[in-house]
């Protein structure tokens, strides 16, 4: 039963995280990444939930008899601990990246991108991709129009 509860939670987290990652709004993408982290951590944690037990801490080292069945599995915890910290690093870096992008006056337009080195016909390949970036141009243009009114912090 507990497996089902965990699986449902992981499934909902992953689906929502993917949906957010696929969005245009960078805020949503960052939040999606955070949710994905939770989902994956819970997935790994799920390996140790069916056997309940004490936290894996030996209180009295001298009296420790070698009876480890009282503890829950410590390995997933060690893995997740590393994962939490690393994913925090990535999210923090992403946030800094967003901040930087925002602070630039002009967002690079998509035509400035380096050409795809594998494209047989560079122009045609770019056109196909451009469709995905049209919205970005809109954003940039609107911002250009608003420029005089905006006050810089």
């Amino acid at each position: 039963m507990i497996a089902l509860v965990f699986a449902t939670l992981v499934a909902v987290l992953m689906a929502s995280a993917t949906y957010l990652l696929l969005q245009r709004n960078p805020v949503r993408m960052v939040i999606g990444l955070g949710l994905f982290t939770h989902a994956v951590n819970l997935l790994v944690f799920g390996t140790s939930v069916s056997h309940r037990g004490q936290p894996p801490i030996i209180v009295d080292k001298a009296a420790f008899s070698g009876d480890i069945s009282q503890f829950v599995d410590p390995l997933p915890q060690a893995l997740i601990l590393t994962a939490i910290v690393i994913s925090f690093g990535i999210v923090a870096f992403l946030i800094a990246l967003l901040h930087r992008r925002n602070s630039l006056e002009a967002v690079e337009s998509c035509t400035d991108r380096v050409d795809d080195p594998f494209a047989m016909e560079p122009a045609a390949a770019l056109e196909a991709v451009d469709e995905d970036y049209e919205w970005l141009e809109d954003v940039v243009l609107k911002r250009e129009l608003r420029k005089p009114k905006r006050t810089r912090r």
Binding site: L20, L35, P74
Partner: protein, 784 residues
């Protein structure tokens, strides 16, 4: 001593390069000293080795890994070693005059001697893996020698083709070697050959192993359908062509077949593969050679044909065929090498190798003409040359087969030999008559602008004369020179009785028939050429280039498709692929195998909390304002934290708490500064697509979580950590794992954090700077 010789060659090449040999007119003689010393030493070993005493050398490198350099000089290794070092001496002298004052001579010597060292290592190696390393050494030096003229695009293409074809073959061969080593339990070649052949032929993986090893041998020795790389390799400087691509490197495949002959030749698979491939190569090479006018191209295809003959001979597990192969290898080296060298001299003197533009060279270059005619007679197999002896033995083998009852194979081989023999005679005559004897060329004659010095021709003459003399001293040398390699190939002591003249036997009559047919072909050569020219020309090189281009195309297409588009598409593909696998696994009814403990009932809180997290998650997805989304994310984080608390993971809960707070602070801080943009709504169909992808990923997560919750399928290492935590002086097992057992992982984690912190710091610093207004400062370069 063997290692010293290899080192001598490997070192003397680069030293020669440093000496800048092109400054001296006779630098070739200096260069030839190293290979000459090797040859002299090897000649001294002829006595003991022909008595069956092999020289073993063992240099241990890494004992723990079982890596060692094992060299072994036995009959076969000595035979090949003599050809390599002896030809190498002649080529070293020849190259000195061929390059004249060209400053590339030093580089050529460096590569040539490195090649020589790899090639000798190849034939002396007593370990399959060492053999592979030397094998690749010859491929790489061959590549560098073919592409020696860096401005010639033909040479570069030919070199690439040669490298790719032989490289693919060598990789397959390495796979075959590993299988072979696994079957034998040793990688030592002599150890492997000491085992009974049934160890290999009876093994379940014999066929794949044989296929892989043969692929390596066939690509190296330019067997059909890989023969096309060899003519392309003729873009190399002629000394390299004469040495690598006729006398030595292309015989590496033949050497490998001969080396493994005792272990593998019992199998019918071996016989048919070698017989058919060798036979096709023999005929195909001989036929294509007639189509060409370039001296080197004719010789290249003739080489392909001769290699086919050798491979075909090694198909048989009888002594006679082995003798024929050994004689054929030496005879071929001693006539084809000089012929290539003659082609180089002719090219050097007249500026062309097109036989339509050549005539009467025997009069203007008498020494060259004499050498060329002698060598070409041997190639044609006319009595009393070394080539004749080789062909007699070849025919004798097939007659013996017919007598012993294998009539079909015997007649097929005989017919193929007669046809290819006739073609050999035809183009030998073409070379002799058209280039050297006739008075008027077919096209505008090329003048001799630059007559070669006698010393330039000397190595050619010496090789040719050695080849011409050998048949007359057969009784003196047959048991020292040929018996030992034959014994090594058949794995039985051999005593030979070779003779040039057996009387008017059917063998000799067949030989005469081939010669007569050849003369007929020669007189009708214009018609034959026209016939071949009108035929369909399937060029292996073109097919190969098509394949390579296709591979590039495929790489380009897959990169464009998988990674050439927007971010959502790029991440969708791997996510969907992962989801697809899990959904497929579930369709196989793996759920029953999950071994989930369905009785583990959650407490009331453990149901309420996840429900809360699910609601919060859905709230994020539908959130209209950023702040509510961030708060909902925090809520999910808190639930996860509480789950860690409920399931006895206090360390995780603490860390999660800290990280959650920091993330929230960061998010609010930064997004407060970023102005809100109204992003346009996705089109309806795209929203639907993304929703479906998300659902698939959700199913993936669900499946993975169920798999994770099941009982482990294999023993876990966790118990080891738990039991030994006190030994690491720690009570908190999770902490002990992180800082002690898996300390390097933690080091990696810290590195990631440092990199992220540095990157983030740089980005935040950069945001204080004003961006450069590139557009406005830009000046129009031309007037409108």
């Amino acid at each position: 001593m063997l290692t010293n010789l290899l080192a001598l060659l490997a070192v003397s090449g680069p030293i020669l390069w440093l000496l800048r040999p092109h400054r001296w007119r006779h630098a070739g003689w200096l260069a030839a000293m190293a290979p000459a010393a090797v040859t002299a030493w090897l000649l001294g070993q002829l006595g003991p080795v022909s008595q069956g005493i092999a020289l073993n050398e063992h240099y241990s490198w890494s004992q723990a890994l079982g890596l060692a350099l094992d060299l072994r000089l036995d009959g076969l290794g000595l035979f090949f070693g003599l050809i390599i070092a002896g030809m190498g001496t002649a080529i070293a002298v020849y190259a000195g005059y061929y390059f004249e004052k060209a400053s590339t001579l030093g580089r050529f010597y460096a590569l040539l001697f490195l090649f020589m060292a790899s090639m000798l290592g190849l034939v002396w190696a007593d370990n399959l893996l060492a053999l592979f390393v030397f094998w690749e050494g010859t491929s790489i030096t061959s590549y560098l020698l073919i592409s020696f003229k860096l401005t010639d695009s033909n040479a570069l293409e030919g070199a690439r083709r040669a490298l790719v074809v032989t490289g693919i073959g060598a990789l397959a061969m390495l796979g075959g070697f590993v299988l072979l080593g696994q079957m034998a339990g040793t990688y030592s070649i002599s150890g492997l050959l000491a085992l009974p052949p049934s160890t290999f032929t009876g093994h379940a993986l014999f066929a794949p192993m044989l296929g892989l090893v043969l692929l390596g041998a066939f690509t190296k020795s330019a067997q059909f359908p890989f023969h096309f790389w060899l003519p392309g390799a003729m873009a190399a400087p002629t000394p390299a062509s004469a040495y690598l691509h006729s006398a030595t490197m292309v015989k590496a495949g033949v050497y490998l077949l001969a080396r493994l002959h005792p272990a593998l030749a019992e199998s019918p698979l071996w016989f048919w593969a070698l017989f058919i491939v060798g036979g096709i190569t023999m005929l195909l090479g001989a036929v294509i050679a007639l189509r060409h006018y370039d001296l080197k191209a004719i010789l290249a295809y003739a080489t392909v044909s001769q290699l086919g003959v050798l491979v075909m001979l090694l198909a048989f597990d009888v002594k006679l065929a082995t003798v024929a192969a050994a004689v054929g290898i030496l005879a071929h080296a001693l006539y084809k090498g000089p012929l290539f060298m003659v082609a180089g001299i002719v090219d050097h003197a007249t500026g062309t190798r097109d036989i339509r533009k050549l005539a009467g060279l025997a009069r203007s270059l008498p020494l060259v003409g004499a050498a060329a005619i002698l060598a070409a007679i041997s190639m044609a197999g006319l009595i009393p040359t070394f080539g004749f002896l080789a062909k007699e033995l070849l025919l004798e083998n097939f007659f013996a087969l017919i007598e012993s009852g294998q009539t079909q194979i015997g007649w097929a081989g005989l017919a193929a030999t007669v046809i290819s023999g006739a073609l050999f005679v035809a183009y030998s005559l073409i070379i002799i008559c058209e280039a050297f004897l006739r008075r008027k060329p077919a096209l505008k004659a090329a003048k001799i602008e630059h007559a070669p010095s006698a010393l330039f021709v000397l190595p050619v003459l010496v090789l040719t004369l050695v080849g011409a003399a050998i048949p007359f001293f057969l009784t003196a040398i047959e048991n020292t020179l040929f018996a030992a390699p034959v014994a090594a190939i058949t794995a039985a002591p051999a005593e030979l009785h070779l003779a040039l003249w057996h009387g008017w036997t059917p063998i000799f009559l067949t030989s005469l028939l081939a010669i007569a047919l050849g003369v007929l072909l020669f007189t009708q050569r214009e018609r034959v050429r026209k016939l071949f020219a009108s035929g369909i020309q399937v060029s292996g090189a073109r097919v190969f280039d098509g394949l390579v281009d296709g591979l590039y195309g495929l790489a380009g297409w897959s990169t464009r498709t998988l990674q050439g588009s927007s971010f959502p598409t790029q991440i969708s593909i791997p996510l969907l692929a992962a989801a697809g696998f899990v959904i497929y696994a579930f369709s196989l009814n793996l759920v029953a195998d999950l071994r989930i403990d369905w009785n583990a009932v959650p407490t009331f809180y453990e149901v309420v909390l996840p429900t809360l997290a699910i609601v919060a998650t859905l709230a994020i997805a539908r959130a209209q304002s950023r702040l509510s989304a961030i708060i909902s994310l925090g809520l999910v984080g808190v639930v996860v934290l509480l789950i860690y608390v409920f399931f006895s993971a206090p360390d995780l809960a603490l860390t999660q708490f800290l990280v959650e707070v920091l993330t929230l602070v960061l998010l609010v801080l930064v997004f407060y500064r970023i102005p809100h943009h109204a992003y346009p709504k996705q089109p309806k169909h795209r929203s639907m697509k993304y929703l479906l992808i998300s659902l698939a990923v959700g199913v993936w997560g669900f499946g993975m979580a169920l798999v994770a919750a099941g009982e482990p399928l294999f023993p876990l290492i966790s118990d080891f950590f738990s039991l030994n935590a006190t030994a690491a002086h720690g009570g908190n097992i999770v902490n002990v794992i992180l800082v002690d057992f898996r300390g390097f992982d933690t080091l990696g984690e810290i590195t990631v954090m440092v990199v992220a912190a540095l990157g983030g710091y740089a980005l935040l610093r950069a945001s204080r700077m004003r961006p450069i207004e590139a557009e406005e400062d830009f000046e129009e370069p031309y007037d409108a």
